[in-house]
Amino acid sequence: MEHVAAVPAWALLAYLVSGVLFILALRGLSSPETSRAGNRNGMIGMGIAVVTTLATHDIASLPEIAAAIILGGGIGFITARRIAMTAMPQLVAAFHSLVGLAAVLVAAAAFLNPQAFGIADASGAIFGASRVEMVLGIAIGAITFSGSVIAFAKLNGNMSGTPILLPARHIINLALLLAIAFFTFGFWHSQSAMDFWIVVGLSFLIGFLLIIPIGGADMPVVVSMLNSYSGWAAAAMGFTLQNTAMIITGALVGSSGAILSYIMCKAMNRSFISVIAGGFGAEAGPAGAAAAIDRPWKRGSAEDAAFLMQNAEKVIIVPGYGMAVAQAQHVLREMGDKLKHQGVDVRYAIHPVAGRMPGHMNVLLAEANVPYDEVFELEDINTDFGQADVAFVIGANDVTNPAAKTDKTSPIYGMPVLDVEKAKTVLFIKRSMGGVGYAGVDNELFYRDNTMMLLADAKKMVEEIVKNLD
């Protein structure tokens, strides 16, 4: 394939450099100290890729391109500045959808004007390998786009987080996949425009159908998966354009999303297939909720909670999605500070699937100025609950349920959970006793002798506790 319009050697090297800078951008994230330099590497890499492309092509339309970059860049920059940290999952989903759509547009442009991309001979026939690559790129891009739009709507509350289950959905999806494969083959065979556009249409449809049956708390997996897809779409386009920067980046992003999906699935003890099949937590509800009414439990007040924590030596705080919903992270940090001033050892324990995307809780705590060396992951802190005087659970539920360790019939059996019940006292903030967690199961923790339920809005309750700490 010597067909690609002669790209000068320096340009090939420049694309390679930008690929390496992207690797360094991810490498920097191994610790917060090196992460900022890593992010700068990423920006430099992107700058090099853009400048190299501009320098190696005849520029027929500079004003339009400058306008497009300024318009898009301005919107992106302002959004990034203004967005609330609690809205980060939906922002990321929105960004994924844009990558997907951009991939679709680029592949469509390559199909309409293959000579500009150097992937066709003089008669306009596109090379066989390029046909497959571009149709794969556009299909993955379209799935990323429509899937991310649904994920965005669910995360942003435009659409209910409860799974929407179509009858025979697995059969429909399978049929759609087969149809995509069939028309991909058709396009490879004959370069038929109709086959090309049918693949695009079907891919948009399947992206939509894949995400609607998936419930709100499975979103960390979905967001990671779409992250991975956006990478594979970029890689496929990199193959079409024979561009190393795009191929390296696509491979990095693709593996990154895949690894995050794997970590999230493992943290829920569920297979990737079962998450993608969807519907989790849709049916289980009533039985668990009914059982909740009769058993005795203890209710505590803000004064009780403040008293217990002031007299504790060690307090471990367990935040969950409810903390994000209530925007309680700032007042929580204030509570932590007051306790620390009174000599209490305060730490935070984070379950990998707490929140709506990987690392969601860590960002919120960082936003509230909680030092990151007070925040621990499940495996690093779980053994310490035995020595803790108080475990303070705010907005988390299923990830603290001891049934995951003992009850083989529970839908969450086998999921790694935080051993909060081993603390001398568990303080559990919850809106009311009626509701159950996402998994639709009752939490045995509520009825333990050492558990005190604090029934209120998370933010209001913590504010009350803070007042009582003076």
Partner: protein, 95 residues
């Protein structure tokens, strides 16, 4: 470049990605997603090629729209990552 060379780069990059991403601390998984988002917009290279070309009008417009979308992601993705990373602070040392 022939297909095999490109495939080799791709496969090796997948392995690099695998090891690099496992070394990312879980506390930074959200910034990881934001920055991967930004870098996957390197697809702007393809968008620029389409937008720069003289020929087909439709392809050019598709390219221009793709340039704008990818720019949202590039500027937005890097800016939001930077904003997040700036928040991660260590405990202040008290004398």
């Amino acid at each position: 470049m022939d297909f095999i060379s490109i495939l080799s780069i791709f496969v090796l990059a997948c392995f690099v990605g695998y090891y690099v991403v496992w070394s990312v601390t879980p506390a930074l998984h959200t910034p990881l997603m934001a920055v991967t988002n930004a870098i996957s917009s390197v697809i702007i290279v393809g968008a620029l090629i389409a937008a720069l070309a003289a020929g087909s009008g439709v392809a050019k417009w598709l390219g221009l729209v793709a340039v704008a979308l990818a720019s949202v992601n590039i500027f937005g993705g890097f800016a939001v990552t930077q904003r997040m990373l700036a928040m991660y602070k260590k405990k202040e040392k008290k004398g």
